[in-house]
Amino acid sequence: MKQFISFIKKEFYHILRDKRTMFILLGMPVVQIIIFGFALTNEVKNARIAILDQSNDAATHSIRAEIEASRYFEIKKYLHSYKEIEKAFQSGQISLVVVFPQRFEQDLLHFNKAQVQLIADASDPNVATTLTNYASAIINDYQNRITNNRKLPYTINTEMRMLYNPQLKGAYSFVPGVMAMVLMLVCTMMTAITIVREKETGTMEIMLVSPIKPLKIVVAKAVPYLLLSIINITSILLLSVFVLDVPIRGNLALLVFESILFTLTCLAFGLLISSSTASQQIAMFISLVGMFLPTVMLSGFMFPIENMPVPLRVVSNIVPAKWFYYIIKEVMIKGLGFAAVWKETLVLVGMLAFLLALSIKKFKIRLA
């Protein structure tokens, strides 16, 4: 036991003395939370647009003013002919053009009917759709105002309620995702690399001939990273509650338990990678491609799983982060209890057992 503890101490020295690595490992979750929390919104606002007003009358002016006043749009340019539209798009300055045809107001007054054309740069399809919707809504409002809000007969009203996340904050869906990402990075990648590094620099050989059991060496390597992950989980949760106002609706103990379970799974995966590779670059590559990319892509936090083609959806089931993400969402955001997530927990336990068994079996006392 004493030997074991001194090994753990050694690992801690390794980590603590490398200030840069420490700094990044502890700073990463903070930076991620801040970027995700404040910088990345899927809300569209301040979109730069252009106006092609061939009519230039009172009606188009007041619609223009309303568009200008909305926080979604910022009129960047006034065009004078159709030919300029394509050029304006190509220079990348604008993402929508509102075109008023000639005699807009006259048509509106005489025929009660006029047309507006919206041309969107659909390179980004979602932004294009959203902008078109916003602009139509503004024009619609204007129309309602000039008709004095007369109510049409047989009107179906709709009442909308947003569950769990009434302000539609992005934070609700990514806090669990950031947790999964950071834990995996710290546990899988860092663990795999530190072990392989000892192999590469030759110090593993020295440790393997020492009287301590080889398995203990490896476990001692994992302990500091487990501790680091717990610190990271704590800081992520604190940040999300106090800075991003994302509540923890469920049981905190359950949340911590599930996080540790996932951490252990990641560690087991890291051990497995380390026992089957010989160079840091390969270990890094495998953890990136084998663990990190699938986590980002297939856990459902960046990209919606239900949109993916069937093969990817099937593959997503073997990604531990997918289950973890689901559990955290249910417990933290929806406030459900263990009864709602026991199946997913069991899946994680199964994965942990499998990975551990495999990595112990593959662990070699002798280096090649």
């Binding site: 970027i35 190509q90 507006v116 390179s123 759709t129 709709t158 892509m297 919606p304 249910e330």
Partner: protein
């Protein structure tokens, strides 16, 4: 010049003798380009709908069949109790609940007005927003049909109406892959530049072979050029592979000129390689280098406009996007590939990128020491 030639020979041999590197260089782009665009599909479709129908009238049935026929919604369940619908939301089976109240049809006909209730699972804000918008517009359509049933509108429209027609240029099918693939290509090229180059140099530091080079008369700039040129070439090779795949798999052929793409990529790689070099001068082992470049890549990718529009970011984040080289290349790629922008349109981008290249490389060269 001769020294450089030998150094280059050494580097290329080293790269091509390492099967792992070869795999990283050729397999990773293929995997990423084959998988990522499929995963990164933000097109909102297949919204799971749970209908709570208290009315069981003709109208409620018509509305439901109209919703499911729209292609956006899939009927997950059709029940008479709200709790049941709520349960399916809790288990992530349904995204949206539509509740039709008692006597919906009767109230609509008799009192000229009736209300439908919706509850949306809003954990994913985008999906909730778009889903609700689709639902609302379909209900409006339905409303119009109902009205037509009851009132015969005269030919001359007494209600003032502004007709809005929308058209989508450059990507009329609203295909999300057209948007993502050029961006992912940029990430690939960046990875090779920043990641591999810095790892390569740090590796020499870590295993000590850099000492051997340092005691030779090889000049500083020879060594650096010898390291950078192979990765510059590799970056362009990967770009070529990527463009080929984009065409073969997704049918994306650049609308603009290839020359513009390669021209910009050549300058861009200079900047990114400078960054990789800089990272390697600040770190002493591969673990550090990897972690640092990983960290930077993460910030760069997230704040590059690859996934979310830069216009909607807060001001401080917009400043970061301005000092992020990835932003410019993604913008250029999308402009040239989708919109066919020409050399003149991207001239400002090229100038900025030249600036980046100059600053980063000078910084790195100053910081690189032939002593440890």
């Amino acid at each position: 010049m001769r020294t450089l030639k030998f150094l280059l020979q050494k580097e290329f041999r080293q790269i091509f003798r390492d099967p792992a590197i070869i795999r990283i260089i050729f397999v990773m782009p293929v995997i990423q380009l084959m998988l990522l665009p499929w995963a990164a599909d933000y097109e909102i479709k297949n919204i799971q709908l749970s209908v709570v129908d208290h009315d069981h009238s003709d109208y409620s049935r018509q509305l439901v069949s109209k919703l499911t026929a729209s292609g956006y919604f899939q009927l997950e369940n059709y029940t008479g109790s709200f709790d049941k619908a709520m349960e399916s939301v809790e288990h992530e089976r349904a995204d949206l609940i539509l509740e039709v109240p008692h006597h919906f049809e009767r109230t609509l006909v008799k009192e000229n007005e009736s209300t439908l209730f919706m509850a949306v699972n809003a954990i994913n804000g985008v999906k909730a927003n778009l889903g609700a918008a689709y639902l609302r517009s379909i209900i409006q359509d339905f409303n119009r049909e109902v009205r037509l049933e009851w009132i015969q509108f005269p030919r001359f429209n007494p209600e003032t109406q502004i007709e809005v027609t929308a058209s989508n240029w450059f990507n009329p099918g609203l295909n999300y892959k057209y948007f993502m693939v050029p961006g992912i290509l940029v990430i690939l090229v960046t990875m090779v530049g920043a990641f591999l180059a810095s790892l390569n140099i740090v590796r020499e530091k870590e295993i000590g072979t850099i000492e051997q080079i340092n005691v030779t008369p090889v000049k500083k700039h020879h060594f650096i050029l010898g390291k950078l040129i192979p990765f510059w070439v590799l970056g362009l090779v990967i770009l070529t592979i990527g463009l080929g795949l984009a065409y073969a798999v997704y049918g994306i052929a650049p609308a603009g000129s290839m020359l513009v793409i390669y021209g910009f990529a050549a300058v861009y790689l200079l900047a990114v390689l400078g960054l990789g070099l800089l990272i390697s001068t600040y770190t002493s082992n591969q673990q550090q280098a990897m972690l640092l470049s990983f960290f930077m890549m993460m910030v760069f990718i997230l704040l590059s406009g690859l996934y979310t529009s830069i216009d909607s970011m807060p001001e401080w984040a917009q400043y970061i996007t301005k000092i992020n080289p990835v932003t410019y290349f993604i913008e250029v790629m999308r402009m040239v590939v989708l919109k066919g922008s020409g050399f003149r349109d991207i001239l400002p981008h090229i100038m900025i990128m030249l600036g980046f290249a100059a600053i980063l490389n000078t910084w790195a060269v100053i910081n690189y020491k032939k002593r440890s």
